[in-house]
């Protein structure tokens, strides 16, 4: 197993720039998520790690060795695709042992190895079955088995659960993560599903338009997004942006939204012009005493909680509150925000302004 380092990697397809100067490091044994919308460059980045694409410029290190220009076959990594292909004429055991046999490993050793892998995946009892009649889950386990059996330096997975329905997907994601915890293998996993990324990842890289927007632990990125894109891509519903025109000076601890002052973490950076007050839905509270009022546009019941959409003088906002709280569409509510959690953004650049609260996360990001 190995560390993977990406240094200033760029990829152009003709005149189209798919990845712009990406730099990040996947530590040995990490479960690492490449997250972003379609077309953001995440799959291209993964394919460059695998050697299925060669970078236009930049370096890729796997286990300390620069492999940027080496073909896939010389990188010793295993790639798991969204649409896993099995050899239909072979049984489960033969499918798993195939990579070893083609490497010329002695039979006894192959048998032992396949047995171990089958044990890890819980498919020992189906080793002699043809792959044709297997359930979706078992097919996926066999595909994983074929990847694991080679003891590669790293696993690269491109939306391996993308084609599955919600219920089964949840189950397989837990299984994959548990498998990773048992084996401790470096894994890079591409997804566009933010919940999947938060749930499974030790670390997340968020990409947009070929650019790495932020890189860090899931909760850090969620709490202290570096950009408005990250703030809106993570979380469901995503962070609210209340737009205001104003000025923010160093060490300022409040901003005014439509004439009402709200406390914010002390700023470390000045800005003026179009700004946005960023607050997560779970940090919005309803209180009659607040001078800042809004009108309820919609409520969405979710069991334990509900999402309430409110029209404010600075734009629509979503709040997540307990489902036991009675709210009716059309009523006027006073709003209050958890001051410790606020991020102010410069709307022109889309970047978060540095504050005492987010400097630890963003200072060396």
């Amino acid at each position: 197993m190995a560390q993977i380092m990406i240094r200033n990697v760029r990829k152009d397809f003709g005149s189209f720039n798919a990845v712009k100067s990406s730099t990040f490091t996947v530590e040995d044994g990490e479960f690492f998520m490449l997250l972003g919308p379609s077309g953001c460059g995440k799959t291209t980045t993964l394919r460059m790690m695998a050697g299925l694409e060669l970078p236009t410029s930049g370096e890729i290190f796997i286990g300390g060795e620069e492999v940027g220009m080496k073909p896939a076959s010389q990188r010793d990594i295993a790639f798991v695709f969204q649409m896993f292909a099995l050899y239909p004429h072979m049984n489960v055991g033969k499918n798993i042992s195939y990579p070893l046999i083609s490497q010329g490993m002695p039979r006894a050793q192959v048998k032992k190895k396949v047995g171990e892998v089958a044990e890890i995946l819980g498919i020992t009892d189906i080793l002699n079955r043809p792959v044709g009649g297997l359930s979706g889950g078992d097919r996926q386990r066999v595909a994983l088995g074929r990847a694991i059996v080679r003891d590669p330096k790293a696993f690269l997975m491109d939306e391996p659960l993308g084609a599955l329905d919600a219920e089964f997907r949840e189950h397989m994601s837990e299984e994959l993560r548990a498998l990773h915890d048992r084996m401790g293998a470096t894994t890079v996993y591409v997804t566009h599903d933010q919940l999947e990324a938060m749930q499974m990842g030790d670390k997340i890289v968020v990409m947009n338009h070929g650019v790495v927007e932020q890189f860090g632990r899931p909760q850090q990125i969620y709490d202290w997004p570096a950009t408005m894109f990250v703030a809106s891509f993570l979380g469901s519903p995503s962070m609210n942006f209340l737009a205001f025109d104003g000025m923010l000076g160093n060490n300022q601890t409040s901003v005014a939204l439509s004439g009402v002052d709200f406390t914010i973490p002390a700023s470390l950076e000045g800005a003026r012009g179009k700004l946005a007050f960023g607050v997560r839905p779970e940090h919005v509270r309803f209180t009659d005493t607040s001078a800042y009022k809004g009108q309820v546009l919609a409520t969405e019941y979710l069991g334990t909680t509900q999402i309430v959409t409110v029209a404010t003088p600075n734009g629509d906002l979503k709040s997540r509150i307990s489902a036991s709280h009675a709210i009716t569409v059309g009523e006027t509510v006073g709003l209050e925000f958890d001051a410790r959690t606020i991020t102010v953004f410069n709307v022109e650049t889309g970047r978060a302004l540095l504050s005492h609260a987010n400097q630890e996360v963003l200072g060396h990001g």
């Binding site: 938060m198 749930q199 779970e282 997540r320």
Partner: protein, 336 residues
């Protein structure tokens, strides 16, 4: 618009019983969501109402009028499919106008223009009205096909997973829009999905289907808080309700075989020890994977919990669900 009634509807495809004696009333102006996994009979129910399929036995009526023998066109229903089907040689505007230009409706031109403007604004496709249907992204095509249903004024709208091909953000926006359009216009909607968020947030009534049987019908809150069975309880709620042997905790009724615990039915800090096996920080909340007497369960806690893998947490049930050997809910001594 008017009540849509299914009475003892049964349908088989060869040896497969797709619908088993389903009776259901879709009240005028309601938003009914049929929920269940693949193969539960959701789409078959929808097709029965639309007239694309006919029941083996049983009857469907709309506004008191039997639909037996009527074609889809005669039923005055509007359908939206998961797979969008647009006229590729027409523009978005022409696609939207098409149903209104039907000789049966004979809508005046200014009325058509007004409808198209309204619907395209709601669905955020105003800027694409003069594009050819083929020059749209998948999400845009699906919005046009929803729009083509919305320009009409049918007895009932039938929608089969219309949002499943859209990205998360657009899906969230359209959930609210569909709900708003429906409640404002008083339209009746029958909507099929396997997405529980869609069911919970949009439905006035949820019909839970299990292998062709309608097992529960009620408001999302009724089904979430008062499920009739393990199956119904498992359809709503994220993380899913934990189903464990009833004897694991003290206080189970005599005939209880399983206990059902939603995250909010697990009190942390008192009761018996459980081991934290994994902590998932999801941003707004943290999921705790716990091991309790060799059984796994999932609960939720604060986003910034100090708990980590290997910690011990005491837990106890609070107003749990109990189920009998058949998975049916037990309520204070009797079955539901």
């Amino acid at each position: 618009m008017a009540d849509v009634i299914l009475k003892n509807v049964t349908k088989s495809f060869g040896a497969d019983l797709a619908l088993d004696n389903v009776s259901m009333t879709i009240p005028d102006g309601s938003f009914v969501v049929l929920l269940g996994p693949t193969g539960a009979g959701k789409t078959t129910t929808l097709r029965m109402v639309s007239g694309l399929d006919t029941p083996d036995s049983g009857e469907i009526s709309i506004a008191g009028r039997s639909m037996t023998g009527l074609t889809p066109a005669q039923r005055n229903v509007a359908m939206v499919f998961q797979q969008y089907s647009l006229y590729p040689h027409l523009t978005v505007r022409e696609n939207l106008a098409f149903p209104l230009k039907s000789p049966l409706l004979n809508t005046p031109a200014d009325e058509i223009a007004r409808k198209i403007k309204e619907v395209s604004e709601v669905l955020q496709i105003s800027h694409k009205l003069d594009n050819k249907a083929t020059a749209l992204s998948g999400g845009e095509m699906q919005r046009v096909s929803i729009g083509r249903a919305l320009v009409r004024n049918p007895a009932i709208y039938l929608m089969d997973e219309p949002l499943s091909s859209l990205d998360a953000k657009l899906r969230a926006d359209l959930r609210i829009e569909l709900k708003r359009i429906q409640s404002k216009s008083g339209a009746t909607l029958l909507y099929v999905t396997h997405d529980q968020i869609e069911a919970m947030t949009m439905a006035t009534h949820v019909g839970v289907l299990d292998k062709g049987k309608l097992v529960q019908f009620g408001s999302p809150r009724e089904i979430y808080e008062n499920p009739v069975s393990i199956y119904a309880a498992s359809r709503l709620g994220q993380p899913r309700v934990n189903i464990l042997p009833a004897g694991l905790f003290a206080g189970a009724p005599a005939n209880a075989v399983k206990i059902g615990l939603r995250p909010e039915q697990i009190v942390q800090g008192s009761g018996e020890d459980s081991l934290v096996t994994r902590v998932e920080h999801l941003g707004d909340q943290t999921r705790l994977h716990l091991s309790f007497k060799d059984h796994d369960l999932v609960s939720v806690t604060d986003a910034h919990t100090p708990l980590s893998e290997g910690d011990i947490v005491k837990i106890r049930p609070d107003k749990p669900f109990y189920f009998d050997a058949d998975g049916a809910r037990i309520v204070s001594g009797g079955s539901l």
